[in-house]
């Protein structure tokens, strides 16, 4: 199986065919992970740098484990954004990477577009592990894998993203990926946390959570950041919970068979209650397992695309 991408910078513009190939490959890797020795030699000899300019335990851990399961050599670089000026760090770090022979760079950075900037400066394949509020494509893919696994399909489903859409890279990657796969995407959240002209992306805006829950086959509940309240964008966590919190009581009036996702880490008792997070509708732990399989699939497929390209250039 092959995909047409050399980098994974986002899900905007990625075809249904490529997404399906990634999800199918991830299903295969999920079976590999169930073996007694859950490791394959696929990427032996490949070198991967994990560049994390923002703290992230989950995504980073997931990528590192995926790389180890594929037998790749990995190098980790993390910069505390307070110690150095952000702009200088990325540029200087890129110069260092250029000097080494690296096959992949997995990067998380606070600046939207930084993954694209990196891809223009280095020879390696770049995987965006989150660039500011722009995209977090592997999260979008693992969410779609989880939906497909639970419901059996993506096409035609009503999937609603709930919370701070404006500052969320998870929301953007979900919107682009899900629309590509034929889902109907909705968003619901405080008016101050919806980005401008969001309807023009082809999504439905639900003013009330009740309406969103009544329509949705799947909801993806985003983490609410307390700093948005300090920035005057919503009044209090208490009111947020009252208006947008997913409680067991609310879920009783939701569409039958609704599936609940959350990219984590959760604020239990704020955007989601424990009886929902740990209940039957929740697939939150499956998301974690699937994240590993999706990241293995992305690395594997990008490596395939690359070795094909190298073959081509040798042939001339």
């Amino acid at each position: 199986m092959k995909i047409t991408l050399t980098h994974l910078l986002g899900l905007e513009g990625v075809s249904k065919q490529d997404i399906t190939t990634i999800l199918d490959t991830a299903d295969t890797f999920k079976n590999v992970l169930k073996r007694p020795i859950p490791k394959v030699p696929t990427m032996k000899g490949k070198t991967i740098v994990n560049l994390f300019f923002e703290p992230s335990t989950r995504t980073r851990f997931s990528f590192e484990l995926a790389e180890k399961r594929l037998s790749a050599d990995t190098v980790n670089f993390s910069a505390s954004s307070s110690s150095v000026l952000k702009g200088e760090t990325l540029k200087d770090t890129i110069k260092n990477i250029e000097a080494m022979r690296i096959d992949f760079v997995v990067m998380r950075h606070g600046a939207p577009g930084s993954a694209k900037y990196l891809s223009e400066c280095v020879n390696a394949s770049v995987i965006n592990a989150g660039d500011g509020a722009h995209e977090h494509p592997t999260q979008g893919l693992l969410d779609m894998m989880t939906i497909r696994e639970k419901v059996g399909r993506i096409e035609g489903l009503n999937v609603t993203i709930i919370g701070d859409i404006k500052h969320s890279r998870v929301a953007r990657s979900n919107i682009h990926g899900l629309i590509s796969m034929g889902a109907h995407v909705g968003v619901c959240g405080p008016a101050t946390l919806l980005p401008r002209d969001i309807r023009e992306l082809g999504v439905t805006v639900y003013p009330s959570l009740e309406d969103a829950l009544a329509d949705s086959d799947v909801i993806n509940v985003l983490r609410i950041q307390l700093e948005r309240q300090k920035g005057g964008q919503f009044p209090s966590l208490r009111e947020y919970r009252t208006l947008f919190g997913i409680t067991g009581e609310r879920l009783q009036h939701a569409k039958k068979g609704i599936t609940v996702l959350h990219p984590g880490p959760m604020n239990r008792g704020v955007e989601i209650d424990s009886d929902v997070a740990d209940g039957n509708a929740s697939v939150i732990l499956d998301q974690v397992t699937n994240g590993l399989a999706v990241r293995m699939a992305v690395l594997y497929l990008l490596a395939g695309g690359r070795s094909k390209m190298e073959g081509d250039s040798n042939a001339q």
């Binding site: 952000k86 702009g87 990325l90 600046a111 939207p112 577009g113 500011g132 980005p195 002209d197």
Partner: protein, 432 residues
């Protein structure tokens, strides 16, 4: 290899050009003799009896010298980006015989000694420098500068450009005091709370890009405030780099009510939109940001009906180290002196049926009127400040050939139609 230095002359004959000058109602083939810095004769002249320098202007169009009233020359303080000399050479290369420099240098142009420094640095150059001084000391938005003495020393306007004059009470005082000394305040309109530390226009494009965004109203609310203060005080105000439909509408209404507001926009807003920012190419980053197609159409309509008086480049040189970065870390601003005229001729004359006379109003007559810089008229005994156009010239922007020290342009490689072929000013001539 063409020289990048102008040539001094005693007498000069511009032979065979077409002279277009609304101030003398001229649109005809005419030769011009220049004696030092003065026009001696306009009409049909026999070259055989002339002993000075002759330039064949056949096929060229001679117009009153252009003036760019909004440029950043970076000296003193950031000479690695631009100096007064390199900036004035870039202006000459772009067809300008005069520019107004913004005072947001390091330190700011807020005292007589700073004006004197600029006068010294610009002395002897082909292109004239008319400095704009700061409204407030150090551009800190607190105390007024000595506007009376600064104006007497040559400051042609007052602006804290780079920043707005936020305090409305201070803005009122600034407008009243500046009017008393015969100058106007030029305001960079931006409400920083609405702008929210953004990097691009707020629109569907920012929703895609995930960048912090600057809504159009961050500009327009300040424009509305300035218009109200101008109406209340009766004092003039000039709105720098108008970029939004709302601002155009407010200014149009104000002019209908005879309020003393004038306005400028910049070439990049006329040909680029925020869609370009999706590339994250930092040469599309400036403040105000590139706006939507709707704003662009409003700006062109505003230029056409006289709502917007001036096209200025907002020439903002930056070193590669300030631009070769991720978008949110990069500096705001692009160079414009050497592309401004070509873009205006290509876009407004080529695509929007503006006349050359309208272009002369926008780029020569109106900026001089607003800054009280003496008007240019192509007539006997008048000052010889001339721009020579080649309206038929097809050319491609090549930033490597810029005379500016900086190359931060989004227009490199762009094909343009029409541009500056030469300039005459201060006993000097420069032709390509």
């Amino acid at each position: 290899m063409p020289s990048n230095k102008p040539e001094f002359f005693e007498t000069l004959l511009l032979k065979g050009g077409t002279v277009v000058d609304p101030s003398s109602n001229r649109n005809e083939k005419a030769d011009i003799i220049v004696d030092g810095d003065t026009i001696r004769q306009v009409g049909t002249i026999d070259a055989s009896s002339f002993s000075g320098k002759v330039i064949d202007c056949t096929g060229k169009t001679i117009i009153p010298g252009l003036m760019d009233m909004h440029v950043h020359l970076r000296e003193p303080g950031e000479e690695h980006k631009e100096t007064v000399e390199s900036g004035l050479r870039a202006a000459m290369n772009g067809g300008f015989t005069a520019v107004c420099s913004m005072p947001n240098t390091k330190p700011a142009i807020d005292s007589l000694s700073q004006i004197e420094l600029l006068r010294k640095l610009s002395g002897g150059m082909l292109t004239d420098l008319h400095p704009i001084a700061a409204v407030t000391k150090g551009r800190e938005g607190k105390e007024l500068t000595e506007m009376g003495e600064l104006a007497a020393a040559g400051a042609v306007g007052f602006s804290d450009d780079g920043s707005p004059v936020l305090n409305s009470g201070l803005m009122r005082n600034a407008m009243e005091y500046a009017a008393m000394v015969g100058r106007c305040v030029i305001d960079h309109c931006e409400d920083p709370d609405l702008a929210g530390g953004g990097h691009m226009n707020e629109s569907l494009q920012s929703t895609y890009a995930g960048l912090k965004a600057i809504p159009s109203i961050s500009e327009a609310v300040q424009v509305a405030r300035d218009v109200l203060i101008s109406e209340y005080t009766g004092c003039p105000v000039h709105i720098a780099h108008v970029s939004t439909e709302e601002s155009v509408r407010i200014i149009r209404n104000a002019k209908a009510r005879k309020i003393a507001v004038t306005a400028e926009t910049c070439p990049h807003y006329l040909v680029l939109t925020d869609e370009a920012v999706r590339t994250y190419d930092t040469n599309y980053k400036m403040n105000p940001p590139l706006r939507s197609a709707k704003d662009q159409a409003a700006l062109i309509a505003g230029l056409k009906d006289g709502t917007i008086d001036v096209i200025a480049s907002d020439h903002a040189p930056h070193h590669a180290d300030d631009k070769d970065l991720e978008f949110s870390a990069a500096a705001f601003g692009i160079v414009g002196l050497e592309t401004s005229l070509g873009i205006v001729l290509t876009e407004l004359m080529g695509n929007h049926q503006f006349s050359l006379v309208q272009i002369i109003e926008l780029m020569s007559a109106n900026p001089r009127r607003i800054t009280r810089v003496p008007a240019i008229s192509i007539q006997q005994d008048q000052t010889a400040s001339l721009t020579i156009l080649d309206l038929g010239m097809k050319w491609t922007v090549d930033s490597a050939a810029f005379m500016s020290r900086s190359v931060n342009t989004p227009f490199n490689g762009r094909e343009l139609s029409g541009g500056a072929w030469g300039v005459v000013n201060n006993h000097q001539v420069f032709v390509k």
